[in-house]
Amino acid sequence: MKERIREILEDALPLVDLDSDFLFKELDSLGVATILLKLSEEYSIKLDAKDATPKNLKSLDSLEAMVKSKLEK
């Protein structure tokens, strides 16, 4: 799943370093919204602004964990 997330986000956010130690810092408001939108489309999950925490958006690993926890609900 992580590689698929990378693929989607590399395509949507070409300026963002997805391997950054702290991904959230790399993003602007459009970047955050794009991640929520792309992941909710790809995995048919409901994401809202409360999910866009620095912790959830820290890295590709934390994004994968967030998607997995939403899918389990």
Partner: protein, 437 residues
């Protein structure tokens, strides 16, 4: 009176009232007035001062201190590349600006590179009075600014807030929506804010329910700088049934011209309301919108030819197509320009193409606007490469970021064998726009 004189007047009338809040920092009108006078000694009369803008109280101090000294403020994008900053610095150092100039604001003109728009003190006062009368900026208002302060959409809100002695709440963008809701929770009689349509889309998508809890507190929201989708207009009326929701016709060149409260039961798409008290609108025989009044720019820096092409006989001739209805309300029907509006930020495709052509392997390219789910329009670069080259999308995006402001960097890239040109060798924009690929 200049805007900075209202600031000092506020310091006398309401010395302890909070003038601005940003993060943990707050400043009263008295403190702001003192800091402005102190910093003004760093500038000299007539000097044009380019500086990188920031979302901070310090921005306000610098901006007003420049005016206090009789100098001219030229706030630039906070992430403007160093070479571009130098280029503008050199141009402004050798430029003559008319007496009474307050600001030079950079925006993308109808062609080519960014242009310095000359704004007078008289224009700032007229914009402030238009907004106070047209939208009801009041003394007890807390106005939340989340957009970049070098952009007319956000900068212009400092004008009526200062004139009324109200309070500004400055946010570092809308990346952390919790911070926006914290601003709404700040103790105040009522709130108002300005959003580009992309931010409204984002809020409705991800926080609509939460926003509805503030229906009694949000006095008004203004949108502008790009068309707001009718579905978003209707949804916002539903979420905030008591709030005045304005769509405004404004640009750096024309100033704040007309505004329409679409939460009026009619919610007319494309309607921009009646001209405000300092403004007049005339539709030319070709159907284009032209504007008159004290909010107009004085001209473009160092470019009398470009100035003369849109500013004649105290009238600005825009490339917007519009109509006035029987009630005198303006309706926007379209735009006749190559400029692409990305979430309220104007991008000249030729500037992007010029920057992309210097990337190794790029033989030809065209930058087009395509529908984007959040910003309304987004940028796509179609690239033809030299034989043996491959499309390094991220490398190209980073190359562009080194030369241009971030909002001018396309998000989508596509490789093509060649780029279609017209019979006289110009890029065939019409073809690509009609393909909408």
């Amino acid at each position: 009176m200049r805007l900075v004189d209202y600031l000092h007047k506020n310091a006398g009338l309401y010395p302890e009232k909070t003038a601005a809040i940003c993060g943990e920092e707050t400043i009263t009108w008295k403190e702001l007035s003192e800091k402005v006078i102190d910093r003004a000694s760093s500038f000299r009369k007539g000097q044009v001062v380019p500086f990188r803008s920031s979302q901070s109280i310090d921005f306000l101090i610098t901006y007003f201190a420049i005016h206090q000294a009789g100098a001219v403020a030229a706030p630039l994008e906070k992430d403007i590349p160093e070479n571009r900053f130098r280029e503008i610095y050199d141009i402004l150092s050798s430029s003559q600006v008319p007496e009474g100039t307050a600001d030079i604001l950079y925006t993308t003109g109808t062609t080519g590179k960014s242009k310095g728009v000359i704004i007078s003190h008289r224009t700032i006062i007229a914009d402030a009075e238009n907004l106070i009368e047209g939208q009801g900026f009041s003394h007890d208002l807390l106005f939340i600014i989340s957009g970049p302060l070098n952009h007319i959409g956000s900068l212009s809100k400092i004008f009526p807030v200062t004139m009324q002695g109200a309070t500004l709440y400055i946010l570092e963008g809308m990346k952390d929506l919790d911070k926006f809701f914290e601003a709404l929770d700040y103790p105040a009689e009522k709130n108002a804010t300005f959003f580009v349509p992309a931010t409204i889309r984002m809020l409705l998508m991800f926080s609509g329910e939460r926003l509805s809890k503030y229906a009694d507190k949000i006095d008004f929201i203004e949108s502008g700088a790009a068309p707001l989708a009718h579905s978003d207009m209707l949804r916002l009326c539903e979420v905030l049934p008591k709030t005045r929701l304005y769509n405004t016709y404004a640009s750096t060149e024309t100033g704040i011209i007309a505004t329409y409260n679409f939460n009026d039961g009619e919610c007319i798409p494309g309607c921009l309301g009646k001209p405000m008290s300092h403004s007049r609108i005339i539709i030319t025989p070709e159907g284009k919108i032209s504007c008159q009044g004290d909010t107009l720019m004085s001209g473009y820096v160092n470019d009398p030819a470009l100035t003369a092409s849109i500013l004649k006989d105290d009238t600005i001739y825009t490339s917007d197509i519009g109509e006035l209805d029987e009630k005198g309300r303006l309706h926007l029907k379209g735009r006749e320009t190559d400029v692409i509006n990305v979430g309220g930020f104007k991008v000249s495709p030729s500037e992007v193409e010029d920057a992309a052509m210097s990337f190794p392997g790029v033989k030809d390219c065209i930058c087009i606007g395509i529908p984007h789910p959040i910003t309304g329009m987004g940028l796509k670069l179609i690239v033809a490469l030299e034989d043996g080259s491959f499309l390094d999308k991220q490398g190209l995006a980073r190359h562009l970021k080194g030369k241009l402001e971030t909002f001018k960097v396309p998000l989508l890239y596509q490789q093509a064998d060649s780029i279609k040109r017209t019979y006289n060798g110009k890029l065939d924009r019409k073809f690509y726009n009609s393909q909408n690929i």
